[in-house]
Symmetry: C2
Subunit: 597 residues, 2 copies
């Protein structure tokens, strides 16, 4: 059978050949698992994604949730699918065994969970957000809170949300206005408005637990005065009994270009009835807690972008193999049979571009997922610390690179289908609409660029970038001869990124941080392309070695070499002009007058 | 008042400063018109676009046409808007006075007509297609046919369509199956199916005239056996009376990602009742006639892409001036007021990119429109011939470059609005969806690349490219000192394009046309960027000269210089890796095995 979400073979390649899940499984934390059980679980995930998520994706997109003023109506297939997901234990994949989790490696859990946005991102969002909320509680909530709120999430009874943005404050959380007033019993009265809350209301679960950023009366200004609260839709008693409605209300649903099946809500807290919240951890540390969870959530966003791109690639590939149209340029006989469009060079260009983006993105996402495992379960302190640093550095890249280039893949998938691809009768236009969100939520493209260049590279004195360079050099030093040219190209691109970051660091030190960071997004693209080129090289090394010993899967490995050749021929050279642009540090963006637009 | 579709000032700049409409108006054909009447007509077009087209664009997108099995229902504002368009004489703008036209220059007519897709592309399509059909009849139909079919179009009673594609044959018209069987009276019985017919059915006009490609029984195979037929929805008697229904039926509507307000139809000819058609011109010359009309239609597609991009740019610019969010990097005080997001360098980058794309695209589209005037009304045979050649060369670029880069502009407009931009409450997501079509219809991106590199450059022995180079050198030779660096960069990029085309020409001659043309789309992008860079340079020359004499509009001209600086700093250098890629002529796209995807 043809894969419909993500290539199973490529997932297996990533897990066991590229990212060595077998090594991770040998860590004490994962002693309960072995490669065989993982492979069986992966197959269960593929089956669930293809049988319960994919079939209603188009209907859900066309028949989006509606709010009648009382309740939110969602087509019933959504609940059926998420219930099956919960029953299958997929939400508990990464959690500790002592809270009922399966304690699987993040590397493996991310590989599985990427299948669901590929199949149907709208339906998958509900459990994605619940996982994120449970993660946050696991890390920072009290035992009592974990018992009353997190445990029911892992049981699938409660769903979770992230309530950060407000109508006037998205990227700038420093300016949130939601307030928390202490009550006598240690709890807080919450008042304010939140915006863009995915899964903010629905009837899919017994309760919804909102993770809310708010400022306690008298808190310091800015981000240092933000606290994190648990605000349930229905109150939860000391013994865990679900009681009356809390004062959090759905004001209205936002109607998006994509992700149409996920309720996206404007919520009012304390407008109508008292809204009670519980503080998580210490006051004023809410943003810090949130960021702790962000690394994983941002891998999740990047992997969703990969999944959407991958599904489009597979669809357009299948179409290109089937659809007869036109003849080779060398055949002028109009009475000859048309050939499948995959024979046309420009269609192959579009397919290879997609392949290089989505398989490159998958390798990137799972590389970062593996770092999470090294961070959480690595045997030495040094391993764990290095993984944390590398993950911090790569987080803006793993979030943004797929959001840019797997969206481009979706654009190309439409083009492969021509007029058909532009209609809602085929899935590729929906995938394109769905993927456009990923540059916006969980920190915009621009924010990720500033985070990478400003905080993670310049602010870090380039130390973690040097650490990454060491890992890249480990690969480039040891390539077989057929890949020497590519290895040299990666080394050169990396050196340019390092040089550029030093130039920009000096400009920032000279009191011109605005100029230094004005092209941070370009730096993000440049370093992203360099990292993905490295991951393509790693794949090519494995493909070369495997082909030499002939496994009978020559087409798969040759495909890896082709896509690598494409990436180094068509993509990596784009970093050249980016480096020149950054090196020049032309202050055009900072010095022009806003009147001149 | 703020412009909502395309900047009026920029249109005036293009018409009177950059493309010298005054010179065109001095040609005998346009003796009836002068700059003042043109400016008044332009204002009428702006008013019509903003008052009748723009207000219902969102509603039409949300409430798309429906077919109940008998009739097509379209929201009433569409008919009101197109009726106002017809009453205003806009459809007749370019037609000869002797058939009731206004005989305006194409340069001016294109500037006006670009406003309507910018305001509401779905509604504007109906008259756009009617203009194209009337143009085709004007050029190739008999006097009697012009009287009976074209005249009612110009009167606004009949609308037109283009029926080329069939369900199995889009890009490959050689394979169409629609048949025409001669009847005794010189007419033909038409049978077959057509697909993707925009405006293929509706109740907006008294009749619909389909321009249908079909093969007469016994015709040669391939494109040399295609003839062109007039197939009306309702039969038209010899005296022009509209009679009974002809056997052309709406099978169903296609549902698209964008352009949702334009009926897009699957039509059946002769399935149910006899379908009678009239041959246009000579048998087997249908495709040739169609191509004659294509140059202008493709300028129209490019200008629609420009319009959609421009409307998004203006909207996001206005938003960026209004929306407060965050603080400059140099201000760490969270209690200070947030600044409008236009102050942030990355937002400025996105605005400048949009500006450089949409204003560059406008200059390109109107440059080609001027060539149409030189071709049709130029005083010497040499002028007319040169214009025809240049127009042939630039047609794939004017169609494709805006389809790529003004779509990118729409993507950036969404990003400027953040979460809001992703919702259907704001127009930018609709503009993005609408613009995605332009790479597909009227010849795909890939087809345009092959047309440019294969037919217009290599097939032409580079002669027309050399002619274009002369025009470019006329500019680069004479720039003021402040622009010398840019002029050199254009010259260098142009030389690389010429060199690359020679290399590829030799490869084609050596019997490897597939390899030579396999990256034709990349060549299209490269030459497109070079041509647009030249047009930016021309604009910068005018801006420099004007600023020197201080007109009091310094912000406008400085804005031109800023966007030019952006284009040369951020965009033109991208042609470097493209040239290297093309020069290498790596046969990856032709030699890989389809099994390896």
């Amino acid at each position: 059978m043809t894969d419909q979400c993500i290539s199973r073979r490529d997932l297996i390649f990533n897990l066991f050949e590229l990212h060595r899940l077998d090594e991770i499984l040998e860590l004490p934390r994962f002693a309960e698992h072995d490669p065989d059980t993982c492979e069986a679980l992966l197959d269960a995930a593929i089956q669930l994604a293809e049988e319960e998520y994919l079939p209603h994706a188009a209907e859900l997109d066309a028949d989006e949730p509606e709010f009648d003023g009382k309740e939110v109506r969602i087509i019933p297939q959504v609940k059926k699918a998420v219930d099956a997901f919960l029953e299958g234990g997929f939400l508990r994949a990464q959690f500790d065994e002592d809270v009922g989790g399966l304690q699987l490696p993040t590397l493996f859990a991310q590989a599985m969970s990427s299948l669901f946005p590929a199949a149907n991102v709208s339906t998958s969002n509900y459990t994605f957000l619940t996982t994120a909320a449970a993660n946050l509680l696991k890390a920072h909530a009290s035992d009592d809170q974990q018992q009353r709120y997190m445990a029911p999430m892992l049981d699938g009874r409660f769903f979770g949300t992230m309530c950060l943005s407000e109508p006037h404050a998205g990227s700038s959380l420093a300016d949130i206005k939601t307030r928390a007033k202490p009550l006598d019993d240690g709890r807080y009265r919450i008042t304010g408005n939140k915006m863009w809350i995915s899964g903010g209301d629905h009837e899919l679960s017994e309760n919804i637990v909102h993770m809310v950023l708010a400022k306690i009366d008298g808190a310091p200004a800015g981000v240092k005065g933000i606290s994190l609260f648990i605000v349930p839709k229905k109150r939860v008693d000391a013994d865990g009994t679900v009681g009356e409605r809390n004062g959090v209300e759905l004001v209205g649903l936002n109607h998006k270009m994509g992700h149409r099946g996920t309720t996206n809500c404007a919520l009012a807290f304390g407008d109508n009835g008292e809204c009670i919240g519980e503080l998580v951890g210490e006051p004023h540390k809410g943003l810090q807690y949130m960021f702790h969870m962000m690394n994983e959530a941002r891998i999740g966003v990047g992997m969703a972008a990969v999944g959407l791109g991958y599904a489009g690639y597979l669809y357009s590939l299948d179409y290109a193999r089937q659809r007869p149209q036109g003849r080779p340029l060398t055949n002028k006989d109009p009475s000859s049979a048309p050939v499948p469009i995959i024979e046309h060079p420009d269609v192959r260009r579009m397919l290879l571009a997609q392949k290089s983006y989505v398989e490159g993105g998958l390798a990137l996402g799972l590389y970062c997922a593996r770092l999470v495992d090294e961070q959480n379960a690595g045997e030495s302190e040094a391993t764990r610390r290095e993984a944390t640093k590398l993950l911090d550095l790569l987080t803006p890249i793993v979030k943004s690179w797929p959001s840019e280039f797997c969206l481009e893949a979706n654009k190309l998938a439409i083009q492969c289908l021509g007029g058909y691809g532009y209609t809602r009768e085929y899935p590729v236009e929906r995938l394109y609409r769905d993927n456009r969100l990923n540059h916006i939520h969980e920190g915009t493209y621009g924010i990720q660029g500033l985070d990478l260049l400003g905080r993670k590279v310049i602010g870090d004195g380039g130390r973690t970038l040097a650490m990454l360079a060491e890992r890249i050099h480990d690969t480039t030093r040891a390539v077989p001869d057929n890949l020497r040219e590519y290895a040299d190209a990666v080394d050169a691109a990396l050196q340019r990124a390092v040089d550029v970051s030093k130039t920009l660091g000096r400009i920032a030190e000279d009191g011109r941080p605005n100029v230094a960071l004005s092209n941070a997004t370009v730096f993000l693209d440049m370093l992203g392309h360099t990292v993905v080129a490295w991951l393509w090289l790693k794949q090519a090394v494995i493909a070369t070695e495997t082909l030499a010993s002939d496994t009978g899967e020559a087409a798969f490995y040759q495909g890896k070499l082709n896509a690598c050749r494409y990436f180094f021929g068509y993509e990596l050279p784009k970093t050249g002009p980016m480096a020149e642009l950054l090196e020049k540090a032309d202050p055009v963006l900072t010095e022009i007058d806003t009147e001149t637009f």
